[in-house]
Structure formats: structure tokens, C-alpha cells
């Protein structure tokens, strides 16, 4: 059995569109955009296959509340992945070519996979039991 090499290259958000354009230029096929909430941040991985079946990945890491640019101007079909990431994780993706504004994945719980904000500390003097 052969296992595919796991090549995951971290990149900066500011380089994202440039790197995507490079992949498009050499003729890579976009396979997936995946998101994971890890250590209080979001890892967003862009996966490609080249003409020789090599599977390669580029990863950006963003904090909750950050915006990322859409890669749909480069890869038109990316809109399905970006709307999914927006709807399930609440990540703001700017400039999606087909933007559903949160209505692509209609879930009972909004943004079900989003990192929960830390519970707010009650202000001093307002602890329970004082009323």
C-alpha cells in the first residue's frame, strides 16, 4: 500500500491570493478547503492536486473574528467551501463570488463549529447571592 506524502506548507494570509494564483497558473486542481479549530485559532487548509496526482496543502492560521480573502476570484468553485466555512465556523470570508450570507448550510444552531468565546468574568460586586 502506498501512502500519500503529507506536504502542508504554512503561509501568511497576506500571501494567500498570490499562492492560489500560482497554483492556478501551473494548472493545479483545487480539491478542498478545510477548517479546524485548534488551540483557540482556526487552521484553514487549501488542498490541491497537480497533474502528477501529488496532493499538496497550504495552511493559514487566523484568530477568531479575523477576516480572510476569498480565493473564489481565482478558483471559481471555491465558493462552496468558503460558504461552508462561514456558516459552520463563523469566519468572515471577504469577496466570495457566490455569497449566501450565512444561508448555504442552514443549521439549527448558528455557526456550530465556532470557537466559543471565553465566559465573561462578572464585574466586581455583582457576584451571585448579593441581591
Amino acid at each position: 500500500m502506498k501512502r500519500e506524502a503529507q506536504v502542508i506548507e504554512p503561509i501568511q494570509v497576506s500571501d494567500l491570493l498570490v499562492r492560489m494564483s500560482e497554483r492556478k497558473e501551473v494548472g493545479d486542481r483545487m480539491v478542498a478547503i478545510s477548517c479546524a479549530a485548534v488551540g483557540g485559532e482556526y487552521e484553514i487548509t487549501y488542498s490541491f492536486e497537480d497533474a502528477d496526482h501529488r496532493f499538496v496543502h497550504y495552511r493559514i492560521t487566523v484568530p477568531p473574528g479575523a477576516s480572510i480573502p476569498s480565493v473564489s476570484p481565482v478558483y471559481w468553485g471555491a465558493f462552496v467551501f468558503e460558504n461552508e466555512i462561514h456558516d459552520l465556523y463563523g469566519i468572515d470570508v471577504k469577496g466570495i463570488n457566490v455569497d449566501y450570507n450565512g444561508h448555504f448550510f442552514v443549521t439549527k444552531v448558528p455557526r456550530p463549529y465556532a470557537i466559543s468565546p471565553p465566559p465573561e468574568t462578572p464585574p466586581a460586586g455583582k457576584q451571585g447571592g448579593e441581591d
Binding site: 500500500m1 502542508i8 485548534v38 468553485g77 465558493f79
Partner: protein, 359 residues
């Protein structure tokens, strides 16, 4: 003067076994644009990894889809085995290959029947589903279940198929092959079928590649892309060539799936000849730590399972990119300029599985 209207298509429609909604922007009888909405069957299965033991999660991965269930379970196992760097016994890899090909055959026969039904060719529909029973009987005889087999596990498989039974299965395929050739001849050469499917919903090879198409949709547009070529399971020891058609229309997608039935038969025969004796599983200890992207070729195309683990029995993240999800953008492109009456056939031509797509 032309009129523009929006026609809702789905979520309930005779060609849709599962719910997806499309807003069809029409100009008279022609589709200008189609906008999909999903979410009717989103089950949040990926989130369950945070609460289930990674070994038990195979059963949930299998239930992503009732048709490609075995391959979902196997791909999940490949991802975890990749993280843990497990050397699965060769016999288990061959058995996984046999069950994968039986899954492909029953899925393609199911789809061919549905396609015939969508054309109103009811006798052809019944032939396809009649022949599918042979494959399901083999599944039941070897795993105990027709669908959702529960036979894959991390480190191997749960049950063996004796060499004698494998030989019986391979011999039984001789008659099935003859019956399939008779049926496939109708799909490929019948004038009614050709007239209904040729030139409808065409995607060029550039469109299919650029839009990220997967599986038979990609191969029907002239691109020889089949993830089995990467050599997972026992495919690196078996000989096959991807089935490719070039016209990129609904007819080409039908021909690709029809011909792939014979590739599957050939692969099962090869596996029955070459399968080594030995163990079917290995002891798995400890918990996975790391991440892995595993790919397999499902009947509908390439599936990607991403697993991230932190060394505990619960995984951090499980993400599945299904072929139907990847084939949505190519579908929308293929629908531009269609006659309204062609929409159901083109939607069906990607073999949509919405349960898979939404997870």
C-alpha cells in the same frame, strides 16, 4: 420579448432521492443560472469525533452515506493508520479492495437504474436493479449486511473471506458480466438513450478541471484522474486503467460508469488471484497524535478524509470532502443554457449524494 423568472427545483423532486434545492433563473425555457441551497440533512457527524473514541468512530464514518459506506469507513481508517504509521496486513488491504469494488458496482448499478428511470426507460431501470441484487448478495454473504457493512476497522478488517469464497465470488462474476454486457449495450448503443443524453450538460475538460470536478464527472470530460492510481489499499499491486470519455456530456458520464463495472469485475478477479494468506488485522495500541489527509476513489469520485488528533482517544477534527460537494460548481456550470426539461437529467448525471455532501 423574453421573460425572466425563478423556478424552484427541489428539495423534493422525483429524480432526487435526497433533498437539495436549486433556484433556477430562467429566461423563457432556458436556464441562465442555478443557485443551490443545502442544509436539509446536515447531521453534524464531523463534530461527533470530539465525543467518541477514535476506534468506534469507524461506525459513524460508515454512516455518512448508505451507498459508499464501506469506502467512507476505509478512508477514515487510512487517515488514522497514516497518523499512527500502522502497517496493515496485506490480506486486509486486499479484502478492503474487494469490498470497495463491490461497493462501486452496486452504486453504479443503482445510479444506472435511476438514470434509466429519469429517462422514462422503466424496463432498463428494472434490469439494472435486478443485476445489482447479485452484488448485494455477495456483500451480505461476506459481511452480513447488504449496505453499511461494518467490516473495516483501524488496523485491518473485522472478518475474513475464505479463499474458497473469494473464488466463488470471482466465478459468479462470469455470469454477471455476461448479463451486464447485455444491459450496458443498451446504455451505450440504444438510440433513445443516446438521443436523450448526448450533448446535454456538457463540461469541457478545462471546465471540469478548473471547477474541481471529481470522479466520473471528471473522467467523462477526458481527464484520466482516478485516485485508485495513487495505490492505496491493494491497488498498487493490481492492474487497471481509468475509464475515460471525451464528450463531457450526460452520455459520457453514463458510459464511464457503465464501463467501470467491468473494471471492478476485473479488479475483484485479480484480487482473488493474488490475495496473500495471513492475518486480517493487527493490534492497535495507544492514541493517534498528528494529522493526515487520506483520499480514496468512491463510486461518485474522490473523497478526502482529514483527521487531526492530539494523543487522546477523542480526535480534534474530522473533516470530509465528498465528491458530490466538489461536483456542485461543475453542475452549476453544466446547467447554464439548458432547457428546463433537461435539468433533472443533468442534476442526476453527477450522481448526487446529499447525505454525503452535508454529513
Amino acid at each position: 420579448m423574453s421573460r425572466r423568472i425563478v423556478i424552484p427545483f427541489g428539495p423534493q423532486h422525483p429524480v432526487l432521492p435526497e433533498p437539495i434545492h436549486l433556484d433556477l433563473v430562467m429566461e423563457d425555457e432556458r436556464v441562465l443560472e442555478a443557485l443551490p441551497s443545502i442544509g436539509y440533512v446536515h447531521r453534524g457527524l464531523e463534530k461527533l469525533v470530539e465525543k467518541r473514541d477514535y476506534r468506534d468512530f469507524v461506525f459513524i464514518a460508515e454512516r455518512i452515506c448508505g451507498i459508499c459506506s464501506f469506502i467512507h469507513g476505509m478512508t477514515y481508517c487510512h487517515a488514522v493508520e497514516g497518523i499512527m504509521d500502522l502497517d496493515v496486513p496485506p490480506r486486509a488491504l486486499y479484502l478492503r479492495t474487494v469490498w470497495s469494488e463491490l461497493s462501486r458496482m452496486h452504486s453504479h448499478l443503482l445510479w444506472l437504474g435511476l438514470m434509466a428511470d429519469s429517462m422514462g426507460f422503466e424496463s432498463l431501470f428494472m434490469q439494472a436493479w435486478r443485476l445489482r441484487e447479485h452484488v448485494l448478495d455477495d456483500m451480505e454473504a461476506t459481511t452480513g449486511n447488504r449496505v453499511i457493512q461494518g467490516s473495516c476497522k483501524i488496523g485491518g478488517v473485522r472478518q475474513d473471506i475464505s479463499n474458497q469464497k473469494l473464488r466463488e465470488i470471482a466465478n459468479g462474476l462470469d455470469q454477471l458480466e455476461l448479463d451486464l454486457r447485455e444491459m450496458v449495450n443498451v446504455f451505450i448503443n440504444d438510440e433513445t438513450v443516446k438521443h436523450r443524453l448526448s450533448g446535454v450538460g456538457t463540461l469541457s475538460s478545462k471546465q471540469a478541471w478548473d471547477l474541481g470536478a471529481a470522479g466520473p464527472v471528471l473522467r467523462a470530460s477526458g481527464i484520466a484522474n482516478d485516485i485508485r492510481q495513487t495505490g492505496y489499499a491493494a491497488y498498487d499491486e493490481l492492474d487497471f486503467k481509468p475509464v475515460v470519455e471525451t464528450s463531457g456530456d450526460c452520455y459520457a458520464r453514463t458510459v464511464v460508469r457503465a464501463k467501470e463495472l467491468f473494471t471492478s469485475i476485473d479488479l475483484i478477479r485479480q484480487a482473488a488471484d493474488k490475495i496473500p494468506d495471513g492475518a486480517i488485522d493487527m493490534k492497535v495500541t495507544g492514541n493517534p497524535k498528528g494529522e493526515f489527509f487520506a483520499r480514496s476513489e468512491q463510486p461518485r469520485g474522490e473523497v478526502v478524509h482529514y483527521v487531526k488528533a492530539n494523543g487522546t482517544k477523542n480526535l480534534v477534527r474530522f473533516r470530509v470532502r465528498t465528491p458530490t460537494f466538489a461536483n456542485i460548481p461543475p453542475l452549476l456550470e453544466a446547467m447554464k443554457g439548458l432547457e428546463l426539461a433537461d435539468v433533472p437529467v443533468v442534476v442526476l448525471s453527477i450522481d448526487p449524494c446529499i447525505g454525503c455532501a452535508e454529513r
